[in-house]
Symmetry: C2
Subunit: 951 residues, 2 copies
Amino acid sequence: LPTPTLFTEMDTLQQDGDELEWKETARWVKFEEKVEEGGERWSKPHVSTLSLHSLFELRTCLQTGAVLLDLEGYSLPQIVDEIIEKQLQEGGITADQRENISFVLLRKHRHQTKRTKHRSPADVGKTGGAASEEHRSPGAPGFRSTEDLRLKQQANSYGRLRECTCLSLKNKFMKKIPRDAEASNVLVGEVDFLDKPFVAFVRLAQATTLGGLTEVPVPTRFLFVLLGPLGKAKAYNQIGRAMATLMVDDLFSDVAYKARDRDDLIAGIDEFLDEVIVLPPGEWDPKIRIEPPKKVTPADKRKSVLSLNELGQMNGKAGAGGGLSEDEEMPAPHEMGEELAFTGRFCGGLYLDIKRKLPWVFSDFYEGFHLQSISAVLFIYLGCITNAITFGGLLGDATDNYQGVMESFLGTALAGTVFCLFSGQPLIILSSTGPILIFEKLLYEFSKSNGIDYMELRLWIGIHSCLQCFVLVATDASYIIRYMTRFTEEGFSSLISFIFISDAIKKMAGSFKYYPINTAFRPDYVTAYKCECLAPDPSDHQTLVNVTDLDWSQLSKKECLTYGGSLQGTSCKFVPDLALMSFILFFGTYSMTVSLKKFKFSRYFPTKVRRLISDFSIFMSIMTFVGLDMLMGLKTPKLIVPTELRPTRPDRGWLVMPFAKNPWWVYVASFVPALLVTILIFMDQQISAVIVNRKENKLKKGCGYHLDLFWVGVLMAVCSFLGLPWYVAATVISIAHIDSLKMESESSAPGEQPQFLGVREQRLTGILVFVLTGVSIFLAPILQYIPMPVLYGVFLYMGVASLSGIQVTGFWDRMKLYMMPSKHQPDFAYLRHVPLRRVHLFTLVQVICLAVLWTLKSTFLAIIFPIMILGLMVVRKLLDMVFSQHDLAWIDDVLPVKEKKKKSKDEDKKKKGKEKRKDKKKTDDLDDEVRNAGVCCPPLVIRSMTWIIPV
Amino acid sequence: LPTPTLFTEMDTLQQDGDELEWKETARWVKFEEKVEEGGERWSKPHVSTLSLHSLFELRTCLQTGAVLLDLEGYSLPQIVDEIIEKQLQEGGITADQRENISFVLLRKHRHQTKRTKHRSPADVGKTGGAASEEHRSPGAPGFRSTEDLRLKQQANSYGRLRECTCLSLKNKFMKKIPRDAEASNVLVGEVDFLDKPFVAFVRLAQATTLGGLTEVPVPTRFLFVLLGPLGKAKAYNQIGRAMATLMVDDLFSDVAYKARDRDDLIAGIDEFLDEVIVLPPGEWDPKIRIEPPKKVTPADKRKSVLSLNELGQMNGKAGAGGGLSEDEEMPAPHEMGEELAFTGRFCGGLYLDIKRKLPWVFSDFYEGFHLQSISAVLFIYLGCITNAITFGGLLGDATDNYQGVMESFLGTALAGTVFCLFSGQPLIILSSTGPILIFEKLLYEFSKSNGIDYMELRLWIGIHSCLQCFVLVATDASYIIRYMTRFTEEGFSSLISFIFISDAIKKMAGSFKYYPINTAFRPDYVTAYKCECLAPDPSDHQTLVNVTDLDWSQLSKKECLTYGGSLQGTSCKFVPDLALMSFILFFGTYSMTVSLKKFKFSRYFPTKVRRLISDFSIFMSIMTFVGLDMLMGLKTPKLIVPTELRPTRPDRGWLVMPFAKNPWWVYVASFVPALLVTILIFMDQQISAVIVNRKENKLKKGCGYHLDLFWVGVLMAVCSFLGLPWYVAATVISIAHIDSLKMESESSAPGEQPQFLGVREQRLTGILVFVLTGVSIFLAPILQYIPMPVLYGVFLYMGVASLSGIQVTGFWDRMKLYMMPSKHQPDFAYLRHVPLRRVHLFTLVQVICLAVLWTLKSTFLAIIFPIMILGLMVVRKLLDMVFSQHDLAWIDDVLPVKEKKKKSKDEDKKKKGKEKRKDKKKTDDLDDEVRNAGVCCPPLVIRSMTWIIPV
């Protein structure tokens, strides 16, 4: 049976005016929170730094004081009576101290709540030079003896005891304490009537709520009392803190719950001492509050760390390391799981995928009903329409509006909904992606320049590609993904990012060409700038009929040229303001998004608000700069959106016919480009899927690489028939989807990092997002206000973010290392284990690969660039010859070799399990062990130590 | 006699192929640096986290092992012989182990240097799955027994021992070790021929260089050897680390140098243990490396922290605090020193100032000859000319070029040189400042609208102001500065900052008015935009003579209007591109400067490069955007600089005549505005001086508030005669001057923060800066390329930087607190001591004061705004009634009350001195004390502990 979590509160005896009271000075859920000197503020949770001295003193306290285990207590006065009785028996106190001790222990408790005693400003002003006068510790001058106070207060003391309970009832802090928690109360103080310390440790048989003893309505299980003679308040405080820290220690609290006598407790302290981490006094200032670490060794592992001493370092690695158990094992290999096992049967993988997903059919829906889903849907929806708009706009640009924003919206909605309904990994969000965009662009240019009908060609490519996907699915080809390590993933996504960035900048630079600036303009000579439409030479009758009928000066530029006029003047070829305005919109959107994203890490506003701002940063930036653009009223290039539900280009219908427009051989020949598309889609889809399915995300429902690919293939064909863009998994947005659905443990102790439990895996959010996207077509009237430069800015942001973002963890970080002197480099795990020059060499290889890919992409070879991604995997394989597996395991991942490894792993697991059981046994046997201890060792020699040097 | 600093190196026994060798695994100057597992990299210096266990084991080691104090050692073999001999005598080892131990201890030492053994890539690739195979600890499989190795290697072992010395000779690391340092070597390892540990602690009579034992050529004083049976390498390592950490502890190393026998050492460990800081195992992960703290309690203070336990908490404050000695005293009051004492004699302060500065006359010059001065001069020069250009441009703007950039340069050079030569505080840099600029602007507007000659009026104001300054100097009026707390300083400088910011933005917004954008422009209708100059109606003969002679269409806008023509057309009132370009320049300069300034805190590039980039950020931004402007070639408004050495405005000479242009009463009446200027100058000068002279800067040569004011007065008059701007201390740039002249202790241990020693106080840098500024007038041809928006950007930056910068420490930080949830607030000292709502209230008062000042500034009352600064001091005085002195001491400063306080302070000092002496005595008597210890306490009870609870 696991013991309950302990909440510990420390109260110190203080004299407030004429009254003695217990004032809360610190509390522990897991870390220490202290009441600051000002008395109105909790410190940040921090690691309790104790002095070794106080721990030893505490040990002596428990050795000499009263220890009452499993006391039947129902009220504080009764418990206090029992304690005093016990001490009287043991001769710890004299009978005449009885009254006073009882009086002191029953003083009211003042807790640290938000609503403190109100003091009027005038009142405060009066105190002048001695502000802290009010709260006198008994040792201070102006102190009145307990005897006096007792006689004066006796009458109304019990009433007061219950006074504060009501205040703490609805305490927000309660949420931070686990539901099963029990309290331990530590009371320390100095009094004038004692000449030696009065110590008591009480464990109640039943956890009981003892009036206003505890800040929160948690029943008290343990009570530690330390009253001592005047003049040592500080030391008592330290001992109290040590006790409190012990009580919240997982292992010690276990001991405290199970202890059968005083010796068990002492043994518990000794065990604690043995594990304690020590900072040398000359190297650390105890005033510094240490922030809670991100991760703490869990209690059950602590034992095994200790036992390293006993087990000895039989393996070779240990000798080199000097740190405290710093010799981590090799990083856990990049596990792919059985999803990618090669079955060898026809559609074996697909069958397994379906089998794996079937049991979740219902939970995939009902698990979506949660508040978190709403915010996730809204966030991903915004991401999706931004994507749809951006890619729609760019696709329209690239294909002369054969596929525009309208198609993009419809396609996204259709493909996304279908995929989320039936796929193996519904957390993946389909979207247009960069590689597809590039392919479409090249394809359109090719068909245009060769007189082939683009839409029909595309349809055939889609059909071929769909069939090829089916072949890949049937043959379990996704197996190959196992050979894809971070090296390949990084290469791929970096390339995509670079393309994003360069495209955004190119587009922007285009504005300056499209709207040339008249740099020679002199404001004073404004009269010299004009552009007139001159009628063509009347003698030249070739072009037009009624030349003379036209008022040439009233014609627009386009009309003028249409009718054969010529433009003359200094301002004809210039367009004022638009280029610069575009630049401002572009750069503004980008930098505002970056700043807002960063806002999550600032200290301002509550976490939720910051998260909201960060999540909606793209949306807010778009809104801001659309607003600015509207305010300026300049004719910047805007997004072209059809206002009705019809194809962007009026000369095409909703259905693409497979025959008629192209010669027959095109239908066959399109097999070749289709192969490219298939490779492209396969790589793009599966790399994203691998990233989504990474172990870090703790997905429980399994995934389905084959099933996913099957549906992507189907959608390829469908979209081709409807003339909609092709869709494939989008890494960035899929990760955002997962992030927004992450579940964390709810009540974590203050200062403790909430634990990541897993992802809300379901299909509902995805489906909702895409249904909403479909509905958004009616947003067209609004969308047409969005200037293109704003979208380019978003594009730039997406490129930069995905470079430095989650999915390219290693590469970009390692690039930065080149520019950092080694002493400033962050403490990456691989830097502790791999020589820097090896890291640099690895990065260099990646950079060269990227450079080669980039160069090829810029030539006519661009169309085969998906194949080059495959080349990356070959390069990675070759790297095995240059780098040791050890280094690669740290920087990259190890390539799968044989099944042998797995087996040895299983053995490892078994071993670990055994050890755990042993640990368990250890704690169970604790009591017996404790009994046998402390025989041959001197009193303070720690029981559980294994001595290397004979004592 | 202080004991030398110890450098500690820990070597571990390792088997490299067939050879046994000692490999350096960690070193300590003050903090621990560990050789990372990869073996080619030093970890960052970090605090040594030890386990309590290892400390206890070490204690036992020293109790049981051989301790040889003051051994006469001259070579390693001889020392090893002596150790073995001693152990043989004590029966620790048997005779047959002798050879083996000696063999092991004399193995060569491999140190961690940059040049490691080269391994070819092919070689590395071969190792495959087991990379760390090469360095086998003896316990590992493949290990060969020492006996085998010994027989094989015997022949060439001594030769090897000396092999490495040459490598380490010119080690850069040497600089980090103090010159007097001695080494302590810790050798730990596991061997196969021992069945119980072999321990020896050696102190040599003379520090001796022992061949290649130590990484750096530092003579060895201590040697600790721990060899033990196989299988416990980890534990030996921990014990070695504990020993090394002890050796670098200031107090323990003292004990080690003075110890007379084994017991002294044990007592030293006990004392160390008693002070040790303990982290509970459940709250901290030992794998985390703790970065060295910014400040560590110095060794001599550590004792007194401990003695708190004994002295008890007689004062009231202690009871409230629960932390480890966290009850800091009230913050040290804002000390003004005797410089601001009221002498009561005529020119008493001035006399004292001169007397104080006279002894430094020569050192003020020769102390300037240092490399650091060059970089300081360059940096401040750039700041000064930027300032001169910016203010010159703005002054020119404000006064219709009566004072322009040329005057600004000459004035800066003249005033600065004189001030640096003769002032009391030559670190202060004179410059035009915001308040003066505002005053000049108002004055010019006033005189222009009232038909008074500006230059002559200004001259008289200057003369009056100069005389008023003399009166202030003669009467020691600077005494009043004592009543100026941070509240006033912050109010003043915040206001200045806000004015900077608002002015910069206003100026920028002005561009949009000055160059209106034609928002209705449609690119296609370019033909519709023109602006024609129409001849005036010929029937109206009033204005011009030969109207018909002119080709009206060829006239510029200005000419057209001059000749009475009218402009007609849609583009007449618009100017394309310039407004937007100006905005880009403005915002670009600002944000680039901000980013470059921040670069100092990034991890990229070595510290020096980063510092350079940060220091030159303004210069680099200006250059970049001037470049961009030139590249674009647009006619943005540029800085107007005269190309010859003559006043900016051609209609004025270099000397302003006092009489003739204005009526006589103006000469008298100018007394009133002069009073304003005097107050303004007094406040501005002295507030800056107070900030410069703050205690934090550790200035040693004293300052001279009266002398400074005297020279400012003189310069006022001189500048007025020459028609140059008035100059006064510029806070921001003066602080930059001090920062660039800061001296830091040179060789600080790795990880330790270098200590700030003081500022290179001299006159040379200042003088050079201003001479250079004077010479810069010949830069005019370059300066005219600078667009005004760039300067506005710099202006904006200066405003924002000084808001969040050094001089407004508290206010802006406290403003931010409003927006932070309390759990995210940084750990400011005052937040630990003052309730948050009091802090907020104080900030609110400041905000209201600022708002009032700002409102007044915007009305016609602006001209008396210096007087309002005085009002701030009154408000501050009133605050004494609302806030307690305790709170004010933390948030602000305490106002000086009476001389009484000082006395009690002196007493405090005396007391402290006494305590120190006591401490000293304590260490001297250490030996005797040690002798008496350990009688009534159980063996492990720490000797120096004061037990509260009877053991």
